[in-house]
Amino acid sequence: MIKNLVILEMLLPILIGVSHIVNRRAHLVYLVTCITNVVVCVAAVFICIHVFQSGDMHYYFGGWLPPAGIEFKITKFNSVITCLISVISTATFLHGKNVMFDEIDISKINSFCGVFLICLAGFIGVLLTNDFFNLYVFIEISSLASYSLISISKDKSSIKAAFCYLIIGSIAATFILIGIAYIYSASGTLNIDDFISKLPNIQESNSVRIGYCLILVGILIKSGLFPLHTWLVDSYKSTNSFIVPFLNGTSSKIYIFLAINLTYLIFGIHYSFHHLNISFIFGAMGAMAIIMCSLAALYQSNLRNMLIFSTVSQIGYTFVALGLGSKASAVAAIMFLFGNILAKSSLFMLASNIYLNRRSYDMSKLHNLKSHMPIVVVLFAINGASIAGVPLTIGFSAKISLIIELIKKDMWVMLAIVLCSSLVAILYIWKFMETFLYSKAGSINDSKRKDGFGVYSERELYFPLSIIAFLTGANLICGVFFNRFAEFLNNLIL
């Protein structure tokens, strides 16, 4: 029975997504999408539990066995990530009712939710598939859906950003396709397990090496690592603030998962770190990402731009951890992944709530938020602490394990970069915390008005804030029991 849940998790969103194009009532569409999200989330949790109890699950589409047929392979690692992705999408949807109906006009909501569900199905497909070409198709499905999701927004520059994202995303997908062609020509199979068994005897061939590099470049573009991150910054800056928590929590993080999968599981540590010097590429690009983007985040006066640049610098941390090439560093990278997904998505949700109250992201308008939205400020402090790496959060345990790995490998320059940038992270988080806590010198009046001049006062936002509190609670629990959390991650990647 559990086997069919895998298909339910994939097929249900697509079918209901398509049905939304027909359905015209916006509120019914919103309700049905929430239910679908919850069902997908529950299915993901069941599959995760089943996989943890009885090992990996294989699902052969149409009954065709692997070398020929398309196969879904659900291991511990990708079932946990699927749970996380579905939790984030459910949280975004349940939390974002006010934000969605405020930012997107009614006529577009049903197609918006339809495309959202297809995008979710695409992401889950990317995570679970065990076939190279099927991976490419699901990457294309999810990217096409996310291009159109990004283009729907009040601010007209989001269409331009969506077009640039389309061009860069299609180039990346084509690189992946050429990479797959090279690997197929060398190994003769498209199935990943089959390819892993064939890898030892075709290790020396150049086409495998070129295929690997091309797929990696495609994945790096899509994951928004530093030199290739411009599309991510432009599109998140201008798009509607409902979709940013979802995209930040899923789209770039899934490609980081793919990078981990590719370098550590499919090609193995020996191949990717001794045959090709991947550690230099990840290390250099990660370090550049950390330095440039945390400094850029420091000089942002707009709350959302700051969060976007800090996301790109967090991606830099993950790739620095990936570049070290040992199993423990992969665990550190996954911790950064978890920390960034949970903390950064809730920070973006908080930013959208602040936008509902203050109608602007600019720092000059966000003074004295403490008197109008105390809960938002508290949640912002906890999640900001996780980004900055203050103790008892996932961010802190991730930073500890990364620094221990760096010290073991005597990479002192990288250690200095990581430490200084975590200091800069504290600076730019604190800059906004301070504006929230204190009223601007002299502007006494705005602290007097009880519910501020926004449309939504905090009393109407209790339900969305409880969802963000749930995510923050998960973040804290994993942070407090961090050694048990580290063990849990250790047996994820065998």
Binding site: L144, F163, I167, A173, T174, A181, Y184
Partner: protein, 116 residues
């Protein structure tokens, strides 16, 4: 030297596509060169599938025993059907975006769009 010629040709087409995207200011031309890029990749896949003097992988007989003519590897051909569909989808999303940009910004040239 010559047995790699088809592969070089396909990748040359792909590189022309990428060059087109990079150089052209007009968004419409970028989209067309994206199509050229995808065409290059599809040709590369088909080039891989070629056997020695084999014909197109179409089975005009009912079962394997009757028609024993040499056939090119069918898998890449099938994959390229899907790749063509994906290319069409990307093209249509790109076109709708260009039309919206034209409505909003009155221009599709990169230089003017960068101004504001």
């Amino acid at each position: 030297m010559f047995e790699h010629f088809p592969y070089m040709l396909c990748l040359f087409v792909a590189i022309v596509g990428i060059y087109g995207i990079a150089v052209n200011g007009n968004y419409f031309k970028k989209l067309i060169s994206l199509g050229v890029l995808q065409a290059g990749v599809i040709m590369f896949f088909i080039a891989i599938a070629k056997n020695k003097d084999a014909s197109a992988p179409i089975m005009d007989c009912l079962s394997f025993e009757e028609c024993e003519k040499v056939v090119a590897n069918p898998l890449p051909h099938v994959l390229m059907l899907t790749a063509i569909v994906v290319g069409v989808a990307t093209l249509s999303v790109g076109l709708s975006l260009i039309i919206r940009i034209k409505q909003e910004y009155k221009t599709v040239e990169d230089k003017e769009l960068q101004k504001e």
